[in-house]
Symmetry: C2
Subunit: 233 residues, 2 copies
């Protein structure tokens, strides 16, 4: 067996990042999980991230805290309502109000800093540009630009002791494919939370873009989604 390598995995507590972490583990990486308490509506996702990190035997899990509500500008970090729909087909084609300005740039920047400190050049992020909310910072061209930046921004990049790589194993997969891959790797999706706007008990709404994409993914995979949703009449 090859020697274990270290990597950073950005772990939100959702389905995609849990699957990404499982893929990293299956490739022999030791997982250093990184989550963010940034003022998001869904505080339960941090509990989910903690449980996912533990279930995948992450060697450590850090949660960085800052408040993007200082800026606002998104339904996830302000009092703007999260759009709700009855089906994926009714989702807006435009970039929706749940887009958080520069969020993945901020997240990857912290991931880059931690990667450099622990001496790894491998950063995993569960972005997906197929079954997604249309966010600009989930697209391949954004990831390529960040990877280029990473190697100019850092001491280890400049000194060529590292060649940073942003791993995006899900980027071209459908939600169905992601779920089937995760199931094949033993991901326990009951630990994950995807909802943008859960109720006070943390129960997923079932009508935001993220819930709709998740539910359709499980349906397409012929599997039962193991989490609870609010009941809408």
């Amino acid at each position: 067996m090859s020697e274990s390598k270290d990597c950073i995995v950005l772990l939100s507590g959702g389905l995609d990042s849990a699957t990404t972490a499982a893929i990293a583990a299956s490739e022999g990486y030791r997982i250093h999980a990184l989550s963010f308490n940034y003022g998001q509506r869904n505080k339960w996702e941090l509990d989910a991230a903690k449980n996912v990190a533990a279930s995948l035997c992450a060697v450590e899990h850090k949660v960085i805290q800052f408040d993007l509500r200082a800026f606002g500008g998104s339904a996830l970090t302000s009092d703007t309502p999260v759009p709700k729909n009855r089906s994926v087909e009714k989702m807006s084609a435009a970039i929706p109000v749940t887009y958080v300005p520069a969020r993945n740039t901020i997240f990857l920047s912290f991931g880059l800093g931690w990667a450099e400190v622990i001496g790894t050049s491998d950063i995993f992020i569960g972005v997906n540009s197929i079954d997604y909310s249309g966010y600009p910072d989930c697209r391949p061209e954004f990831i390529e630009a960040f990877q280029h930046l990473a190697n100019l921004a850092t001491k280890s990049g400049v000194e060529k002791t590292s060649r940073f790589k942003i791993h995006t194993p899900l980027i071209k997969m459908t939600k169905r494919e992601i779920i089937l891959k995760g199931v094949s790797l033993g991901v326990d999706y009951s630990l994950t939370r995807s909802c943008y706007d859960p109720d006070d008990d943390g129960t997923s709404c079932g009508m935001c873009d993220s819930c709709l994409l998740r539910q359709r993914g499980f349906a397409d995979a012929g599997l039962i989604d193991p989490i609870k949703y609010q009941i809408h009449n």
Copy 2:
């Protein structure tokens, strides 16, 4: 007079960012100042940033808080001692231990997020690649890569409602030129603090790279540095 435009200025409280803010103001920009409480040794620089922002009539000043001590990896965010020397000529030629992994990437990412929220495409940062500590994230190629990223990372970049520009008015100036420019614009350098490692009263050490570069800049400009330094025998 042309209509006032908004801009973000990353304001550390040091000499360079104060001069950068003054240049932005002289170009007709309304200043939205952004500082970071990131676990740095020099907490006084945040007071300095507040005073500089007020002196330049910034329309607002936000301080984002997070803890880079969670990662460490720098003399500014850990217990590693800050190197001290007697002159600029004795400074290390290598990237020094005061380098903070991914710091400017993180700072610019937050600046980008705020810029998008307030609807401006202009971000000012006081990086300098002449009289500086050799940090990779102060070089023109890093700034160009971030600007490229910014336009891929954001809704307004993708929709072409903004074309983000990272302004670096100091990047090719010597410290002497920076100080003379600031003086010509009325910058009150007594409000600024540059030290990496001040004492418990906030008095600058006079021997870290940042103090040495500042002191030589004032000497080269034929001016008195208006701040206090510790006395070394």
